[in-house]
């Protein structure tokens, strides 16, 4: 683990080699939009919203997974990158059935925030209108696949932090979907500890607490950093 210097958006910054571009950018108040990333969980690098230009790389690299190297030259925002990020958002909206007006997470949803931040006021791609199942067999929580963007935060928090390993992604390609245990109803799971961490880390209205009406599902993610500090990680 060695100290090194690199440039982000023309600004000379110092960093250590075990940091990712995102870590360094955050440490220097440089905003890079993220979606599937969550401080405290291993980076997944799947949503691709955090891609940045790195000199010498043939393509933009995901800043949440790419470790910094000496003399790296990073550009976090260009016209091209912004149009790519906006298109990724449009893809996420077109893939699911995101009817914000009647969603419990309306007003408290990271996907909604990103859309506003990136001025995505409409989706040019046709909607896929996939028939996605819902699972309300659990006593306290509900899973609405319509709102799922496959960021796998729930999978990661359940296996890395809680250790129950109830959640996983099944299927492949656009048929990928979240399942519990052997694709069996959540309520019948013998591995789920009902800790609710998955609900708290879910960025959208997919994993929610039962009993909330529209606009009422508010999630608090700071338990994660607190837990990690307690565990000395």
């Amino acid at each position: 683990m060695s100290v090194l210097t690199l440039t982000i958006d023309g600004q000379e910054v110092g960093a250590s080699s075990d940091q990712t571009i995102l870590d360094v950018a955050k440490a220097h108040k440089i905003n890079i939009p993220t979606m599937c990333f969550l401080e405290g969980l291993t980076p997944w690098g799947g949503c691709r919203i955090c891609v940045v230009d790195v000199e010498g790389a043939p393509r933009p690299l995901s800043s949440c997974t790419t470790h910094v190297t000496e003399g790296m030259v990073v550009t976090t925002t260009t016209g091209k990158l912004e149009s790519y990020r906006k298109m990724i958002l449009e893809m996420l909206y077109a893939e699911g059935n995101h009817t914000c007006s009647v969603c419990v997470s309306n007003g408290h949803c990271e996907l909604q925030d990103k859309a506003q931040e990136m001025k995505m006021d409409h989706v040019r791609l046709p909607y896929l209108n996939q028939n996605m199942p819902m699972d309300s067999t659990h006593e306290h929580f509900g899973l609405d696949q319509d709102r799922c963007i496959l960021c796998t935060r729930c999978v990661r928090v359940c296996s890395e932090i809680e250790g129950a390993q109830t959640w996983a992604v099944a299927g492949r390609g656009v048929d990928s979907h979240i399942i519990s245990d052997l694709g069996t109803p959540w309520g019948e799971s013998d591995s789920c500890t009902s800790c609710g961490k998955c609900v708290q880390v879910c960025p959208t209205g997919s994993l929610v607490n039962k009993g909330n009406a529209v606009n009422e599902q508010i999630k608090k993610v700071n338990f994660l950093e607190h837990l990690l500090q307690m565990r000395g990680q």
Binding site: T99, D121, N129, N131
Partner: protein, 178 residues
């Protein structure tokens, strides 16, 4: 200086956006001095004039009639606005898209219907499209005002900006579901 002609229509929606338009309350008077409704649920005109300055569409395109109206609006209006989430992403009406029209008819008009179950198809009843579409997927749209409904302030901001000859940025004031 002649008034700006405005036409509005609500396709498959709940008219909430039009109601929110009226919520501008006293500011309507100020607006009324600059614009003139030439075709709208607010007025009695039945025919859409050949040429209109500003067209405002609320609601999604979910049947043949909506489609005809959207096409006519695009042809007549110089500037077209999609007002509200239904027009922009299909919103609640589009929740039937995961089912076929057949399944919808069975569920609504046949299941546990005792007296004379029939499909709602026939003379004078516009046929449903297989999927409910946002307006901009049938005709090009110039401005999108998100919200369900977009607040009166947002609509007022959009109108005043347009009347002043500027292009407004509604995302600064509203968002999906706002």
């Amino acid at each position: 200086m002649s008034k700006v002609t405005v036409a509005t229509v609500w396709l498959d929606g709940c008219s909430g956006c039009h109601m929110s338009f009226l919520d501008m309350d006293e500011r309507l008077i100020e607006i009324a001095e600059k614009i003139e409704f030439v075709y709208s649920p607010f007025v009695d005109v039945k025919e859409l004039p050949e040429s209109v300055d500003l067209g405002i569409i609320e609601g999604a395109v979910s049947n043949e009639d909506d489609l005809k109206k959207a096409l006519k609006f695009r042809k007549s209006c110089k500037f077209l606005i999609s007002l509200g989430d239904c027009a922009i992403n299909g919103n609640v009406p589009a929740m039937r898209n995961k089912f076929s029209v057949r399944e919808c008819f069975d569920r609504a008009y046949h299941e546990n219907v005792t007296e004379h179950p029939i499909d709602p198809v026939g003379e004078g009843v516009p046929a449903l499209l297989e999927t409910v579409k946002p307006v901009h997927q049938v005709v090009p749209v110039d401005l999108f005002v998100q919200g369900c409904p977009p607040s009166a302030d947002t609509i007022y901001y959009v109108l005043t900006e347009l009347l002043a000859g500027r292009t407004p940025d509604p995302t600064t004031m509203t968002r999906f579901g706002a």
